[in-house]
């Protein structure tokens, strides 16, 4: 039995290692295609990416990815796939920013109120897909994709016609700026105390702390509560779950709505921490990158955290590639190849483990 354990450890390392080798090879080929040296590219990226300014931006990029990935992981654990995070976070952010600027509450309460608004909107939007799945049998994959497109159109319609702040004269349409009580404090003053110096354009979203806390909550709810157990049960074996008294239809609906509620929060780090309003420059594509983060992190809170940081690092550090005349878009190739090779590596390792176990079993039975 000891031998099996040793090989399990070896396998756990071999999978990611093989994935890393494959993805580095593909990325290097992409750089070579533009007649540049991959070594130079990686060195430039590393040098730029490890400056403290870049690291701060990495954290800021990773925070929304992480929250959105948690949202997707909820549905993955329930055997569903919420591709609509992009739309849910967009609507959550615009409603949170618009309604949040309408009232004034004591500091912490105000932020909580905005979060509740964003969660409600995101949850309701995702609940449409949940309802269609349960009542009408529409695949949630297709309905959430359609809802993404609808959310995009709806948010620009609302912003242009109803939510725009007409008191300021600016080309960039924006909602009214949130009052100070609704702004999430930056981590920079705290970091200063630890000797980190201010960086131009720097600052670290305070919601980073919130995101980490959310990761713990996710872990606890999924792994340590009855609700989490039922969620996982209906995901991994719906028939068995039904026989043990889990209402799988209700579970589908609840999982979609909950996922949407969490997704609604993913647009807030930038809104509450940086722009203090929803404007035309709101980042697109968070929801799609987050799918990759969730897949890479295997729906595990820690794993998703690491992959969110990795994606943030690649995205920020690749900006330096322009200096040596390589397209910064190279990071997309890197992210994509990492994603695909890891997903394949996980599966190969899983299959190999099963083969190994059945061999061990056969041997044990023969003895």
């Amino acid at each position: 039995m000891k031998k099996l354990k040793l090989s399990t450890v070896a396998l756990a390392i071999a999978g990611p290692l093989a994935a890393a080798v494959v993805s580095i090879t593909i990325s290097s080929l992409a750089v070579l295609a533009s007649h540049k040296s991959p070594i130079d590219a990686y060195k430039t990226m590393w040098d730029f990416g490890t400056t403290s300014g870049s690291l701060m931006q990495m954290l800021n990029t990773a925070t929304p990815y992480y929250i959105a990935a948690l949202a997707i992981a909820i549905t993955f654990r329930a055997g569903l796939f919420n591709i609509g995070v992009e739309g849910q976070l967009r609507l959550g952010a615009i409603f949170g920013a618009y309604l949040g600027a309408k009232f004034i509450l004591p500091p912490v309460l105000h932020i909580i109120a905005i979060m509740v608004i964003a969660m409600t909107i995101g949850g309701l939007w995702a609940a449409i897909a949940g309802y269609l799945k349960v009542k009408r049998g529409v695949s949630e994959v297709i309905s959430t994709i359609m809802l993404n497109s609808l959310a995009g159109g709806l948010s620009s319609y609302l912003l242009a016609n109803y939510f725009v702040d007409r008191t300021t004269n600016s080309n960039n349409m924006s909602t009214k700026t949130l009052p100070a009580s609704g702004q999430f404090p930056d981590l920079m003053p705290l970091l200063n105390k630890f000797g980190v110096e201010d960086q131009p354009g720097g600052g670290v979203y305070g919601m980073l702390v919130f995101a980490i806390a959310l990761g713990f909550v996710f872990w606890f709810v999924i792994n340590r509560t009855r609700f989490g157990f039922e969620l996982r049960a209906s995901g991994s074996n719906p028939i068995a779950a039904r026989f043990s008294g889990v209402n799988s239809k209700r579970m589908v609906f609840v999982a979609m709505a909950l996922s949407g509620a969490v997704a609604g929060l993913a647009g807030l780090p930038a809104v509450l921490g940086e722009t203090h309003a929803f404007n035309m420059g709101f980042r697109t594509g968070i929801g799609f990158s987050a799918i990759a983060v969730a897949l890479l992190g295997r729906n595990n809170p820690l794993g998703m955290g690491i992959s969110a940081l990795l994606f943030g690092f690649l995205e920020v550090s690749s900006r330096s590639l322009e200096l040596i005349d390589i397209a910064p878009e190279t990071y997309v190739i890197m992210q994509g190849s990492i994603l695909l090779s890891s997903v394949i590596a996980y599966e190969v390792v899983r299959r190999y483990k099963i083969t190994l176990q059945s061999k061990e079993l056969a041997k044990a039975v023969a003895e």
Partner: protein
């Protein structure tokens, strides 16, 4: 088979009739114009191709969410090769690029057993990143106008159905009966003529080719040994294997054909529907193709009908927002029909709810003169959601669709 065709014709006639009435009431003349019908056909073709792509893949048992990414690859290759080497080679390149995307999907799902949806989504993310990266390279090399748009592609010729819709045949100029009928403004007859003129006149050769794919797919999948084997891989792979079918090979074939068709759909968007590649040109049409596949219950004819509906919604959205406004009235009519059906079945609560929704739609129709642009662009997606929610319960998907298959029974 004959009764099905009759049924289809009857529904189509009713639809045109209702549209004619609505046109009469609202004055939205573009609802049944020649231009709308031909745009609807043009916009359904990529969706038909994507849907047929999905058909081949899913009939072999592999779910293909990656259609979107394969279409993106095809559109990009169509634009890139098309500008340099002419439209026909561009289309060929689109097929090849789509198939390359499909090969990645096949390797991941069939050889390595990765979850089909996961792999498909990964391919979509990668395809979009890859084309953006490659476009930047070409832009830097000075061959493209911008990183998000290719130079123009030469047009592929068009022709029309002889006698009915005009056109040129070996120097003989054919009369254009339908167009002259459409200009008479007779109720219903002119509407019908205009729609027929739209879908038979000024056809691109590629459109004809693509529409021919529908009966061809039906033939290949249901009348040939290859089709039987491919479908058996999607229904009962273990049984098929025991009878000597190479299930892996069949699945590979299904997915590769799927990618080729999706790539062709993308190339069509770049070369025929527009005359250049543009970023976000595909805009979810791969997914809508998948919706058409589900709507059509995994049958080629159904896919074509579904694609026609989505193409119509898309065409109205692109041409004229007044027609989209008139379309709300169509929704009211459909809802009213549903109310009558529910009352007959004795489902009073449901009928009341539908009635309330119909009333709400009617009020909105009366209250708003014209829909704002941002909402008009949402038409095809709303149409997809509505159609899916009205029509997706009696699906009969291939029995082993989406289940990773491994020879020898190990999972």
């Amino acid at each position: 088979m004959k009764t099905k065709a009759v049924k289809f014709l009857r529904y189509a006639t009713i639809l045109v009739f209702v549209l004619a009435i609505i046109r009469q009431i609202t004055g939205a003349s573009d609802l049944t114009s020649v231009g709308t019908a031909s745009a609807a056909l043009l916009l359904s073709v990529p969706i038909v191709l994507a849907g047929l792509g999905g058909l081949f893949s899913e009939r072999s048992g592999v779910v293909n969410i990656g259609l979107e990414g394969m279409m993106v690859m095809g559109a990009w290759a169509g634009g890139m090769i098309g500008t340099k080497h002419g439209p026909w080679l561009g289309l060929l390149a689109a097929i090849v690029f789509g198939a390359v995307g499909a090969l990645v999907h096949a390797i991941a799902t069939i050889t390595f057993g990765v979850d089909h949806v996961v792999s498909g989504v990964a391919i979509n993310i990668i395809a979009m990143g890859l084309v953006r990266y490659l476009s930047t390279l070409l832009y830097k090399a000075g061959t493209w106008q911008g990183p998000s748009q290719s130079p123009d592609v030469n047009s592929i010729g068009t022709n029309s159905l002889p006698v009915l819709s005009g056109g040129n045949y070996f120097g003989w100029k054919s009369p254009d009966l339908l167009a002259s009928l459409a200009e008479k403004h007779w109720f219903f007859i002119s509407d019908l003529a205009a729609i027929l003129r739209g879908i038979t006149g000024d056809l691109s050769y590629v459109t004809v080719l693509a529409i021919a794919m529908v009966p061809l797919s039906l033939f290949v999948l249901w009348k040939t040994a290859f089709g039987l084997r491919l479908r058996s891989a999607g229904e009962a792979p273990i049984a098929a294997e025991s009878l000597g079918v190479n299930v892996y090979a069949m699945k590979y074939a299904g997915v590769l054909i799927s990618g080729g068709l999706a790539g062709l759909g993308g190339g069509f968007l770049a070369i025929v529907a527009a005359n250049h590649y543009q970023e976000n040109q595909v805009a979810g049409r791969g997914y809508i193709g998948l919706a058409a596949l589900l709507f059509g219950n995994y049958r080629p004819g159904g896919i074509m009908m579904g694609a026609g509906l989505f193409g119509f919604a898309d065409a109205l959205q692109l041409r004229d927002s007044a027609s989209v406004h008139a379309l709300i009235l169509l929704i009211v009519v459909v809802l009213a029909a549903l109310v009558v059906r529910d009352i007959r079945k004795g489902k009073i609560v449901k009928a009341a709810l539908t009635f309330a929704f119909a009333g709400l739609s009617l009020w909105y129709f009366m209250a708003v003169k014209e829909l704002p642009g941002q909402l008009v662009t949402m038409t095809p997606y709303i149409a997809t959601l509505l159609i899916m929610s009205l029509a997706s319960q009696r699906l009969r998907m291939p029995a082993a669709d989406g289940i990773p298959y491994r020879r020898g029974g190990l999972r």
